[in-house]
């Protein structure tokens, strides 16, 4: 079966992971900018990272015939330093012209601080002023509920925001309803410990429906599984879901959201 990986930090993954993903049916991979696991010391570090996301990583994916798309930002984990964030924001427009850039992301909050909120608002402004899609990271663990509510309040307070052009990622049972009720897209991240398991994600689909929602592995340098989406597909099959249902969740829904950017090409049209 086919699927799209709508959130994978491939700069952290091996070439073998690319091969495994393609062999498991992956048709396209989308890579939001994120935290490297350490703080970059200057805007130049981000410049190099954005070059990696827009030039090097698409070439690496292309070795396996896999289309690679990306999102740009300074991650909320590095947003406490507002001066650095402003400098990084100033170099993003140059990269927005690259052919694989879908939008601004993954922006959002981490510890729900005032500076994180300030930098989030600056990212939203950048996205809206450049007609970009928005991919939002919600905080981890004990900070998620509060952070998700803060993010939704900020987005809803901006009359320029079109909810159907924003995806709020990493939802769980205590945040998915507020996201969908406000008209936004929701992403479920399949992590071994700190986010959704496959079974919980499928439960969420059963309870909250399968419109405006996708699942992703968010595979990065931490505990994560690059084949988490095909593993969830297998679990859906074990529960008796039909192939059309599974295809909508893991293939059609990501296309429906990302094809709002003219840069995203449906895999069957390539």
């Amino acid at each position: 079966m086919r699927y799209i990986e709508p959130h994978g930090h491939m700069v952290s993954r091996t070439t073998d992971d690319y091969k495994s993903m393609v062999m498991s049916g992956c048709q396209a991979v989308c890579e939001p900018a994120f935290w490297a696991g350490f703080d970059r010391s200057s805007p130049q570090g981000f410049y190099d990272y954005f070059c990696q996301l827009t030039q090097h990583e698409p070439r690496r994916a292309a070795l396996f015939g896999l289309p690679h798309y990306t999102w740009l930002c300074i991650n909320p984990k590095e947003s406490e330093d507002v001066k650095l964030a402003e400098e990084v924001l100033s170099i993003i427009p140059e990269f927005m012209q690259c052919s694989n850039v879908l939008g601004i992301g993954e922006i959002g909050l981490n510890k729900n601080s005032k500076n994180e909120v300030l930098v989030l608002e600056k990212h939203i402004d950048l996205a809206v002023n450049n007609d970009q899609l928005i991919l939002v990271h919600t905080p981890h663990l004990e900070d998620k509920r509060k952070g998700t509510q803060l993010i939704l309040d900020i987005l809803k307070a901006d009359s320029r925001i079109k909810p159907e052009r924003c995806i709020i990622d990493h939802v769980e049972e205590h945040t998915v309803k507020m996201v969908l009720d406000d008209g936004f897209w929701a992403g479920m991240t399949l992590y071994p410990e700190t986010k959704c398991t496959s079974n919980r994600a499928i439960d969420i689909l059963e309870v909250f429906g399968h419109e405006r929602i996708w699942m992703n592995s968010a595979c990065d340098w931490g505990a994560s599984v690059p084949l988490a989406v095909p593993q969830a597909m297998l679990e859906m099959k074990r529960r008796g879901k039909d192939p059309q249902y599974i295809d909508k969740i893991v293939y059609q829904n990501p296309i429906d959201f990302m094809a709002q950017s003219p840069r995203f090409l449906k895999p069957e049209d390539l």
Partner: protein
């Protein structure tokens, strides 16, 4: 709507295993020395949700570990989350 027997056939052994793991974790904590902290207190509180008969147990367990406040904090002094909110239980 799924058949309950099918759900049990698929997931009973997995859930049984996870439940025993939780019991073993609590025994392990008991055997160890030193002070407990807010994480374990919240863990024990969250366990009570499993005895409820209402639905949305997963949501309620998540909320039991969540920061219930609304305003942004003045400054982020760490990047990490530990899974429980220090202010929940005094």
């Amino acid at each position: 709507m799924d058949n309950r027997k099918n759900i049990l056939d698929l997931y009973f052994l997995d859930a049984r295993s996870r439940l025993i793991d939780i019991a073993a974790f609590m025994d392990r904590v008991d055997r160890a020395e030193g002070e407990l902290d807010f994480r374990y207190d919240q863990f024990v509180e969250a366990l009570k949700e499993l005895s409820e008969t209402e639905p949305n147990r997963a949501e309620k367990v998540l909320l039991a570990f969540s920061d219930p406040t609304h305003d942004p904090i003045p400054k982020a002094t760490t990047k990490a989350a530990c899974g429980a909110w220090p202010g929940n239980i005094n």
